[in-house]
């Protein structure tokens, strides 16, 4: 049943012109960032080659900046794709179909999250396939760190999807749901600015910031602390959405 709900979510998006317009805009921005970062890297490499034998590191000079750019794009666009996950069911009156069918609420939540995650993952990895293809065709990139970066993006998609689903369950308005997702994800991201200070607030920022737990993937490091943090976030957000949907029976 989870897979069926996921499939419906996936097909609904692939059949939605709006979703493709959002995807096209997203990929255009992604392409712009890729072109710019690539240009800066190649120019710096040429200049550096005049002075030093070693080439500019591909990981820190290109792959990590691309990873950071893609992460920011996800933060920007995911709320647009998640805002109608549950809010649309309320608005269009299809919620009774789900609530009166012999399916568990958690199956609905997991199915919707899975469908969205698959859609965005395909968008990011297929649409962004030009990046690894370019690196492989024109160079010899380190593949393991690239796989690590892909894992980081996948987890970030899962986190933002779960957060968006929770936000969508909190409000019947798509706009409010999007705003909730944006402000929460941006807040958790920007919490990282406090990490370099001293004191408990900085310590809390180091533990609670989404950026801090995601950025190491782009640098070729996978830390169990980060992985557990991200999965825990997904779990708690989905649990919250599940309980929220259950509570709709008590409104």
């Amino acid at each position: 049943m989870i897979w069926h709900i996921a499939r419906r979510e996936l097909l609904a998006r692939t059949r939605s012109p709006f979703a493709w317009v959002v995807a096209g805009t997203w990929l255009a921005l992604q392409g712009l960032m890729f072109t710019l970062i690539l240009g800066v890297y190649l120019r710096s490499s040429r200049e550096g080659a005049e002075w030093e034998e070693e080439a500019l590191p591909l990981l820190s000079g290109l792959i990590d900046p691309l990873y950071s750019a893609q992460s920011l794009l996800l933060l920007l666009f995911m709320p647009l794709l998640t805002m109608n996950l549950l809010a649309s069911e309320q608005r269009s009156g299809t919620l009774p179909l789900l609530l009166s069918s012999p399916i568990a609420t958690w199956e609905v939540i997991l199915g919707k999250w899975l469908g969205l995650t698959i859609f965005v993952s395909v968008l990011v990895f297929l649409g962004g396939a030009l990046t690894p293809i370019t690196l492989i065709v024109f160079g010899s990139p380190p593949l393991a760190p690239m796989a690590g970066a892909a894992l980081g993006l996948l987890l970030l998609i899962g986190v933002l999807g779960a957060l968006g689903l929770l936000a969508s369950s909190l409000s019947g308005s798509q706009l409010v749901a999007a705003v909730i997702t944006w402000t929460t994800s941006m807040g958790l991201w920007l919490l990282a600015v406090l990490e370099h200070g001293e004191g408990p607030l900085s310590s809390l920022a180091r533990h609670g910031s989404l950026l801090i737990h995601v950025r190491q993937f782009g640098r070729g490091l996978i830390d169990t602390g980060d992985v557990v943090w991200l999965f825990s976030f997904i779990g708690v957000a989905l649990l919250g959405a599940w309980q929220r949907l259950e509570s709709w029976r008590w409104r």
């Binding site: 059949r15 939605s16 024109f138 160079g139 640098r219 708690v236």
Partner: protein, 508 residues
């Protein structure tokens, strides 16, 4: 009204309880934890007391039980999540996917660190975190190194301070530049710049072994003096090197053998050429892996031409003139450093040091194969080495050497493939004098270069890391093609699909 007060109190109490749980697990040193806990108890207790009739009614109703079940479930889930994260962070299990292992230390480092006894060694890195991309890159490198050392060294306490944020702490530590690492233990301390794994490990070992390191400044041939208090002496340099944990002492090499504890030997502006005996001792010193710094004055010969040529280094005739500086100060014979190399000795330096009456350092025409030369500090393309520096107008002419020119170069010797000594050559000595060090950029350059040189002998040999982080070679046509695909083809395909779907929908 009572219900409102009760519920507000309850909400505050619940928030305080969540803060207590999170802080207890993640930030145990949070001040006011007891106050928070008290607030939680009072808040929740107050709510229960004031609103009990409604609570019991709601709890008895099926909706109330469902709500209570939901709250309990979420609280348990959050608790499990917090504990899981705390446990995972403490386990510090990581996978370094980089080919060169930039997030981990070598086994040798792990062995050495594990062998360090208590008391703990404090390692504090002063790195800014700002908008500057170079500074950010150095900060990231340091963060990775610090994390790797902290994970591998049970008796290490590694900390990072942003000198722009924690200004007082930086001042107390006497740190005025970026990229300084202070290693201290039992009252001894040492500082290094632009650290890598080997230099940091070596510094940690030196501090823990409580071994003195001495830099010897040659004397007996009219060199600059250490103990004079004049604008030309090196007393200020001595003081600066002392802050690094280095003892600086004069040495008459002609009469004395080179001591075993010599971290480096400085030959600064000898008035007459060094004798053959001294040259021979220095050659032997280099062959044993020693570190030598030579600073020459334009009109003087050092007698070290052959030794320097063995390292692939030489001095160009003439004086370096810099029209860029002339347009500002009116004096073209004080060339300014426009670019620092990427060698660890000068990595991260930005402020332009200024030399005075300098000769350019050049690579010898027939470069020996058993050495590697690095340009540490160079002029801009506008400067040149002028054979007739007093001529007017000052124009580039025949025989002159065009810029950019190196004013400071380093040669790493590796005779027969094995690790050998290190030689640094400067075509000017004034920048090291008390007057020269009044310029902060000169001071930073001197401290960095000489500090790095003095650490070479003690450098613990680590197995070489794989340098290949991957390559990328594209010409402008390749870039255009990729740009077209990325900016037009891929997004355009999506928009075309959107349009097709829209048209088909209208038709149905």
């Amino acid at each position: 009204m009572t219900a409102f007060i009760a519920r507000t109190t309850g909400l505050l109490g619940a928030l305080a309880a969540i803060a207590v749980l999170v802080s207890f697990v993640l930030v145990p040193e949070l001040p006011g934890l007891r106050t928070l806990a008290l607030t939680a108890v009072v808040g929740i207790g107050g709510w229960l007391y004031l609103d009990w009739p409604a609570i019991s009614r709601a709890a008895a109703a099926r909706g109330g039980m469902e709500a209570a079940r939901a709250v309990l479930l979420i609280a348990v889930a959050v608790g499990i999540a917090v504990v899981s994260v705390a446990l995972a962070e403490r386990s510090q299990q990581r996978w370094d996917l980089t080919p060169q292992g930039s997030h981990s230390v070598t086994e040798r480092t792990t062995e050495v660190l594990a062998s360090l006894a208590l008391p703990p060694t404090e390692v504090v890195g002063f790195f800014v975190h700002g908008d500057d991309p170079v500074a950010s890159r150095h900060r990231r490198s340091w963060d990775a190194l610090a994390e790797a050392f902290a994970a591998a060294g049970p008796t290490l306490r590694v900390d990072t301070i942003d000198p722009d944020v924690s200004v007082l702490r930086a001042q107390q530590a006497g740190v005025s530049s970026n990229g300084v690492v202070i290693i201290s233990r039992s009252g001894r301390s040492e500082r290094i710049y632009a650290p890598d794994e080997a230099s940091l490990l070596s510094a940690i070992v030196r501090v823990s072994q409580e071994r003195d390191r001495t830099v010897y400044v040659s004397s007996g041939f009219g060199e600059r003096r250490l103990d004079e208090v004049s604008s030309e002496s090196l007393s200020e340099l001595r003081r600066e090197l002392g802050a690094l944990g280095l003892r600086v002492a004069p040495l008459d090499i002609a009469r004395n053998p080179l001591p075993d504890d010599a971290a480096a030997v400085l030959v600064v502006a000898p008035a007459i050429p060094l004798s053959a005996g001294v040259v021979s001792k220095l050659e032997g010193f280099l062959a044993d892996g020693g570190a030598l710094f030579v600073a020459s004055e334009p009109q003087k010969e050092t007698g070290l031409d052959t030794l320097l040529a063995d390292g692939g280094l030489g001095l160009a005739p003439g004086l370096v003139v810099d029209p860029l500086v002339r347009s500002v100060t009116g004096d073209a014979s004080t060339p300014m450093i426009a670019r620092y190399g990427l060698h660890a000795a000068v990595r991260g330096l930005r402020a332009p040091a200024v030399f005075s009456g300098a000769r350019a350092v050049v690579e010898t025409p027939h470069q020996p194969t058993d050495c590697t030369v690095h340009r540490l500090a160079s002029t801009s393309e506008l400067a040149w080495s002028e054979l007739r520096p007093s001529s007017e107008p000052l124009l580039f002419g025949e025989g002159d050497l065009p810029g950019p020119l190196s004013l400071l170069s380093l040669s790493e010797l590796h005779p027969g493939g094995r690790s050998g000594g290190t030689v640094i050559l400067s075509g000017d000595a004034d920048w090291l004098s008390n007057r020269g060090l009044e310029n902060a950029a000169n001071r930073d350059l001197a401290v960095r270069v000489l500090g790095s040189l003095a650490s070479q002998e003690d450098l613990i040999a680590l197995p070489p890391r794989e340098r290949d982080e991957g390559t990328l070679a594209m010409d402008w046509l390749d870039q255009v093609l990729v740009g077209v695909l990325a900016l037009l083809f891929v997004p355009g395909t999506c928009l075309a699909i959107a349009l097709t779907l829209w048209i088909r929908r209208r038709g149905r």
